[in-house]
Amino acid sequence: MKSLRLAFVLMAAVVVPLVGQRPITVTGVQSLAFGTLLPGVPTIVVRTDAVKSGQFSINGPHDAQAQVTFTLPAVLTGPGGATLPLTFGGSDAGYSQSQNIGSQVGFDPKQSFVITFSQQGRGSVFLGGTARPAPTQRAGAYTAIITLNVATFP
């Protein structure tokens, strides 16, 4: 009986810190907006563009580390199923602990990246990219979805 009571006490000691942890949340703040494209003319959005870059706000345990991974589309899809190629360069993503677009650490969005939450348990991820419409690209609106995954470490 004593052993069993001891077991429950130990279990509580193990459980209590987990109940107190801040949950991870990822919020999409702004779409990556290429705007108006000319057929045949590649258009670049840099991650430091406050208006056009894709932006995520993430929350988690203060000062904790986490791994961020993008699921990136290779194309945008438009009228009649037409596709428009997208590319992402080695520095097209950025992380800012202070959530300041002017203060980022760049990283390759095609690779996982380890971030550290701020003392307040926050951070922001920014994304740029290049749209490459063909000279004969069909006119109209094109869309796609970017997903950001955040996982904490043991």
Binding site: L38, P39, G40, V41, P79, R138, A139, G140, A141
Partner: protein, 275 residues
């Protein structure tokens, strides 16, 4: 007389220029009466700045006696015409586009009061100069040197739509003639409604089994009545009877779908006899 004095060096620029002219999009501008504004995007792909000037005139595609499509210009359109050229302005009208940069031209319509519902047209002229070309290769000052300026003028359509606009087209007088290894096709196309018919024409020659022996597809704009001539490559046809199928539809891949006025497809066909 010195040998060099006998020679006149005329250099309308030696060697390759690289690109000149600007990229212009879209190639047709549609302005709605609610916003009364539109835009054209210019892109300079060259290493030198491009000087650009904008102007308007009234004109529309029509056909000549040979069935070729040409731009018919009306210098003094009357008040009953569908001209928008007198009341559409471009801002800016003159500009310099730096190398590898884009620039937007805004179009603003100020139509006359009481304008009847419908579609009104203008042709937008974008004139681009790449600057004076360098004169090279002639060291003898006794020789004649030439510098040539190149100017590229691109003309696109502008469409102003007020109120309820609708379009359609009728086909009549469909006829053909075998010309060598091609089939010439003529048709009389007449615009319906109060807006230009913007769509695609498709013609196909089929045999008795329905097999396609030759076909063509092209964009078209019918503003009034026109009689275009088309040519299908058919190769050597065996004697017999065939059928030419001719149809028009409003599907266009080069224009955003929401800009093209819908209209039911129009079809016609005619027998083709090869002796």
């Amino acid at each position: 007389m010195k040998p060099t004095g006998l020679w006149v060096a005329l250099l309308l620029c030696a060697g390759r220029l690289g690109a000149q002219g600007v990229v212009i999009a879209p190639h047709a501008v549609f302005i709605d009466a609610r916003t009364r504004s539109g835009a054209v995007l210019l892109y300079n792909p060259n290493a030198e700045p491009a000087e650009v000037a904008i102007s308007f005139f009234y004109g529309y595609p029509a056909t000549d006696s040979a069935g070729r499509i040409v731009v018919r210009t009306v210098e003094r359109p009357d008040s009953t015409s569908s001209s928008a050229a007198g009341w559409i302005q471009a801002f800016p009208r003159r500009l310099t586009v730096p190398p590898l940069e884009r620039q937007t031209i805004r179009l603003l319509a100020t139509p006359p009061a009481g304008l009847v519902d419908g579609e009104y047209w203008a042709r937008l002229v974008i004139s681009a100069k790449g600057g004076q070309l360098p004169v090279t290769g002639v060291a003898d000052t006794a020789k004649v040197k030439v510098g040539l300026t190149l100017e590229v003028r691109t003309i696109i359509g502008v469409f102003y739509r007020k109120g309820a606009v609708h379009t359609g087209v009728t086909v009549s007088g469909l006829r053909t003639a075998v010309v060598g290894d091609s089939l010439a096709v003529w048709a009389r196309l007449t615009q319906q409604g109060n807006a230009a018919y913007i769509g695609s024409v498709h013609a196909a020659l089929v045999d008795s089994t329905g097999r396609t022996l030759g076909e063509m597809k092209a964009p078209i704009g019918v503003y009034y009545t026109m009689e275009p001539r088309y040519a299908l490559s058919i190769g050597a046809l065996a004697p017999g009877r065939y059928r030419l199928r001719f149809d028009l539809s409003t599907g266009r891949e080069d224009l955003a779908p929401e800009l093209v006025l819908p209209s039911p497809p129009v079809r016609d066909s005619v027998e083709v006899r090869v002796p």
